[in-house]
């Protein structure tokens, strides 16, 4: 079977015409995601590292200026046009950073789910779509009663992101590209969402491309990780390994910069949490 996603030497530059400076956002990035073995693959980087540009290329919203990007063995650029486009949209689904912008503020949120169920999920109109939507919402811990006929501002950031995941799920994708999915969500609701990625991987055989700047959530949920800086991948490998024993100077810098409290953190019973001090 061809790999689900294959990037080889992918680069993306902007500008360079009419005297404007050429900006290289992504430089020679290569990695592969297998369809047989779904995983949570994290792209870790700060702002300006190129991770969002890379995500947009994988979603088919931009084309690389160099290198090859293949989805299930086929060139993504070709899939973007014509008949292949529908297939592409079904295979790869996005989760965006700002949950309040991901849905039209003037429309009810549920209509996107019902539509996705019909157009990509193969459900019939009406009852079929509603049933599929209800099932998908249950997977993420919501119910149709909770979100039917609601506007985005009536729900919390956490609920909206879960809604976005439920919608993506309805398209029966093989890959979900999540661009900073929890950076705008309250801290107390983040882990619930990030843990859903593991469920998607294990129960639905969906690979997740998790794009973030937060090392802690990356540690807890990733299988493999690539650390990006200024458009390039500086270090790659098994997530736990890379994050506890970073090799590259920049990775070390990132890890050192994570704020460690000056004291031990407890759980309300006087005893402090078990904190493994690995160096």
């Amino acid at each position: 079977m061809a790999p689900l996603l294959e990037l080889e030497g992918v680069s993306k530059s902007f500008g360079g015409l009419l005297g404007r400076r050429r900006v290289t956002a992504v430089r020679h990035v290569s990695f592969t995601l297998s369809e047989a073995k779904p995983e949570v693959f994290t792209l870790l980087g700060q702002s300006g590292s190129g991770k969002t540009t890379l995500a947009r290329m994988i979603l088919g919203l931009e084309t690389p200026t160099a290198g090859s990007l293949r989805l299930q063995g086929q060139d993504l650029a070709k899939l973007r046009r014509g008949a292949g486009r529908r297939r592409l949209l079904g295979l790869v689904q996005p989760i965006f950073q700002n949950p309040f912008e991901a849905f039209n503020p003037l429309r009810h949120v549920d209509h996107y789910l019902l539509l996705t169920a019909q157009r990509f999920g193969g459900a019939g109109a009406g009852a079929g779509a509603r049933a599929a939507t209800e099932a998908s919402l249950r997977q993420v811990g919501l119910s149709l009663a909770e979100v039917a006929r609601r506007y985005p501002h009536e729900l919390s950031g956490g609920q909206l992101q879960r809604l976005a995941i439920a919608r993506a799920l309805l398209a029966k994708p093989k890959l979900i590209v999540a661009d900073e999915p929890v950076s705008m969500v309250d801290a107390s609701l983040r882990m619930a969402i990030v843990n859903l990625f593991k469920t998607l991987r294990d129960e639905f055989a969906i690979s997740i491309l998790y794009i973030t700047h937060d090392l802690a959530t990356a540690y807890l949920v990733s299988d493999r990780i690539s650390i990006m800086r200024a458009g390039e991948v500086v270090e790659s490998g098994a997530a736990r390994q890379v994050l506890t024993h970073p090799q590259h100077a920049y990775s070390r810098q990132l890890k050192d910069a994570v704020l460690v409290p000056r004291f031990t953190v407890g759980h309300g019973d006087g005893a402090s949490a078990k904190s493994e001090q690995r160096q």
Partner: protein, 346 residues
């Protein structure tokens, strides 16, 4: 002198013990957004009875998620309120303030206060700096009047202050967009602290910054505070930042305070169910995954739950919680909690 009990149930320290008056004292502050559309009134109770104080020479943190009311509280304390936001009760007093409360102060008095006694560090550093003027001009606009220096003497002071923040004086001649995000934020901090105000209010000072730069800027803020002795009111949702920087910390939920303690005590021994959950949800590298999620979502401040605002989501909720709102009660020296289950008040 024996301790006195104030109207809101909080036990107060005898005044002879405190060396100096607290820099900021907020008493039962209530600030609502009142709007009227088509004859239908709407009242969002963003801050609903908050009392705390920021003491001399301390970093005081205010933590809260969305719908906690901390942004509104910030506006009230920074004397930056505009309709439809109104203070409907309580006071916010700054040390040496003539008026009874900040929101009742005349604009003349506020002008005297600003920058010399009270300054702010804002979230987007671009908003503090005029994008079409060089940085030098911002310093002249803000600080010259207060420092009462001109020309070379003023410049010398500014450069000295900048070097404290590890900023080269060439920064003065740059435009804001020519500086990196981290440098801009440091310039903003320099601007806010150059007059050595009694109180600096920082609103999410490092949220927009990269992890590496964030640590740098936070270290700098801490050094500056230790040297100058100004107090800092730090408002952010990021508990990691609070743990790293603050001396005392208060957590807000649904427009009210739920717990307040010295930071180490709060992290080591959180009492309120919400505080416990918030602190437990901090993921850390090298630790096991945190516990399960909290059900429900943040309260709607236009129609808040009756009684305790947290009761719909609280694992310890009792009948009393639905009817009455708990007040902040002392459970240990310097440690207050607003919860009937943990600190049932009489």
């Amino acid at each position: 002198m024996s301790p006195t009990v104030a109207a809101n149930g909080e036990t107060q320290r005898p005044t002879t013990e405190t060396p100096r008056e607290p820099v900021l004292r907020v008493d039962d502050l209530r600030a609502y957004y009142r709007t009227r559309h088509f004859g239908v009134g709407r009242e969002v109770k963003a801050v609903d009875g908050v009392s705390f104080e920021v003491r001399d020479n301390e970093i005081y943190g205010l933590a809260g998620e969305s719908s906690s009311g901390k942004s509104t509280l910030l506006k009230a304390v920074a004397a930056a309120m505009r309709p439809p936001l109104q203070v409907v009760g309580g006071t916010a007093r700054l040390r040496f303030l003539q008026a009874k409360s900040l929101h009742e102060a005349s604009s003349a008095e506020l002008a005297q206060l600003r920058w010399r006694k009270l300054s702010y560090i804002m979230q987007g550093s671009m908003s503090a700096l005029n994008p079409v003027r060089r940085v030098r001009r911002s310093f002249e606009d803000f600080a010259a009047r207060h420092l009462r220096e001109t020309g070379a003497a003023f410049e010398a002071k500014v450069v000295a202050h900048l070097s404290q923040l590890r900023l080269d004086k060439s920064v003065l001649d740059a435009f804001p967009h020519e500086l990196s995000g981290g440098m801009r934020q440091r310039v903003t901090i320099a601007l806010a602290t150059i007059c050595r105000p009694d109180l600096v209010i920082a609103d999410e000072p490092t949220t927009a910054l990269d992890v590496v730069v964030q640590k740098d800027v936070l270290d700098m803020i801490r050094d500056l505070q230790r040297q100058s002795g100004s107090s800092l009111l730090l408002v952010t949702h990021d508990l990691g930042v609070h743990a790293y920087l603050t001396d005392r910390l208060a957590i807000m939920y649904g427009g009210r305070l739920v717990e307040e303690a010295p930071t180490e005590a709060l992290f080591g021994n959180p009492q309120h169910p919400y505080a416990k959950h918030l602190i437990a949800s901090l993921p850390r590298i090298g630790e096991e995954a945190p516990k399960a999620a909290l059900a429900g979502g943040p309260p709607n401040l236009a129609e808040p739950p009756a009684g305790c605002r947290f009761h719909p989501r609280c694992p310890l909720a009792m009948e009393r919680c639905r009817r009455e709102a708990p007040v902040m009660t002392r459970v240990a020296p310097n440690h207050r909690v607003a919860c009937f289950a943990v600190a049932g008040s009489a």
